[in-house]
Amino acid sequence: MPFPDKTTDLAAAISKIGDGARVMIGGFGVPGTPFTLIEELVRQGPRNLTIIKNDANEPGMGVDWLLQAGLVKRLITSHVGLNGNAVRMMNAGEIEVEFVAQGILAERIRTAGAGLRGFVSDIGVGTLLAEGKKRIEIDGETLLFEPALEADFALVHAATADTFGNLAYVATARNFNPLMAMAAECTIAEAEDLVPLGGLAPDAIHTPAPFVDHLVALPPELMEVYGVVKR
């Protein structure tokens, strides 16, 4: 039984992303951030993007490239503390920022990926973070409804992929990547290592290929931004 080959050209994959798209971007800090896909997105320059990412990376890295290029209208994130530029743009009203508690962000993304409408939790009840959220009464207790968070595109970074689009991540570079890969209409993955079918053990695959639409193989020499951050 053969499987489709989903490898494609970087520019062609990213060209599908147009103005106003909602784009999820994997990664927590540097690990798992698809810098090559982001760089190409900046080069092609669609505007008014809604970006969904755990954090805003650091100045001069990843999401910050999109911010500096003025392509971002709205950022849905858990924390931007390591990017002073994002904080400045938020305070100046140059971007809208929606803060979501980190695990709730992860779960809202997963919920979209699971084809469900939302979930109900007690996280944030009685705090500022509950404001504006729909209340649900369950067994006499007032809880919060958290809607599924889906996107048009997910950009994810994998350590290894086969040509069908099965993905494996390493270490803490996994983070939001497998969740986002499930939650978007179209998932574009970049992979450091491309292997033939059967090159990944089926028990060790983190994202099954049916969730992946397009696959971009990274060059053997990665951009410096993927490396250890010198602080």
């Binding site: 039984m1 053969p2 499987f3 489709p4 997963r110 979209a112 990926g113 699971a114 084809g115 469900l116 086969d162 040509t163 069908f164 099965n166 499930m182 939650a183 079918l197 059967g198 990944l200 089926p202 028990d203 695959i205 099954p208 290929a209 049916p210 969730f211």
Partner: protein, 218 residues
């Protein structure tokens, strides 16, 4: 249903399995469709117990005790296949990553309603994965004998049994015909070899819309 009519039905359903699709085949007749798909057609077979990339049935004596499909048959995993838990498996189904499912039926209505899990007072062993497959696969085909064992139509104006899902069926494959569910009703798409239109109408419990001109055969 004669053996040749059955084989024709299976082969006809197999022709709608297109390259690149991720497909789930229900237990029973639907599972048998795979034998009619060209071996070089790039199709990813999903089974809801946690595999994408079923590589066919295992030869007797070569079974892996840990590797079955949702019907309990011992299977192979193709190169490029993956294993996952039951939550991910149904995320794939509900999340819109399943291009096609072929299911069995007790009854199908002309509006696409499907009943295939419970006959009150007679058969109620649980809904399993059918409801999510029927409701959420991007395309739902039903594979069934055109009539039940008493000769009564299984395609009706309205289902009499509790539904698996409302308005979910796109196409019906039987030993007599291929029919499509469309907003204006049930359309005859193809007629099986040797079946007359009048005979088909008699065996169908809902009005059939038939286009002008010759009816394609399968």
């Amino acid at each position: 249903m004669s053996s040749s009519a059955k084989q024709r039905m299976l082969a006809r359903a197999a022709r709608d399995i297109l390259p690149g699709m991720t497909v789930n085949l229900g237990i029973g007749l639907p599972t048998q469709v795979m034998a009619h798909v060209a071996p070089d057609c790039p199709v990813c077979l999903h089974s809801e117990n946690g595999i994408a990339g079923v590589g066919g049935l295992t030869a007797p004596g070569r079974e892996d005790r840990n590797l079955i499909d949702a019907g309990g048959g011992y299977i192979l995993c193709a190169a490029g296949g993956s294993f996952f838990d039951s939550a991910v498996s149904f995320a794939l189904v509900r999340g819109g990553r399943l291009d096609l499912t072929l299911l069995g039926a007790f009854e199908i209505a002309a509006n696409g309603d499907l009943a295939n899990w419970i006959i009150p007072g007679k058969f109620a062993a649980g809904v399993g994965g059918a409801i999510e497959l029927a409701q959420k696969a991007r395309r739902v085909g039903v594979l069934t004998t055109h009539t039940d064992k008493h000769g009564n139509p299984k395609i009706l104006e309205r289902c009499t049994l509790p539904l698996t899902a409302r308005g979910c069926v796109d196409r019906i494959y039987t030993d007599m015909a291929v029919c499509d569910v469309r907003p204006d009703g049930l359309h005859l798409v193809e007629l099986a070899e040797g079946v007359e239109l009048a005979e088909l109408r008699f065996a169908t419990g809902a009005p059939l819309i038939v286009a002008d001109g010759p009816i394609p055969r399968f």
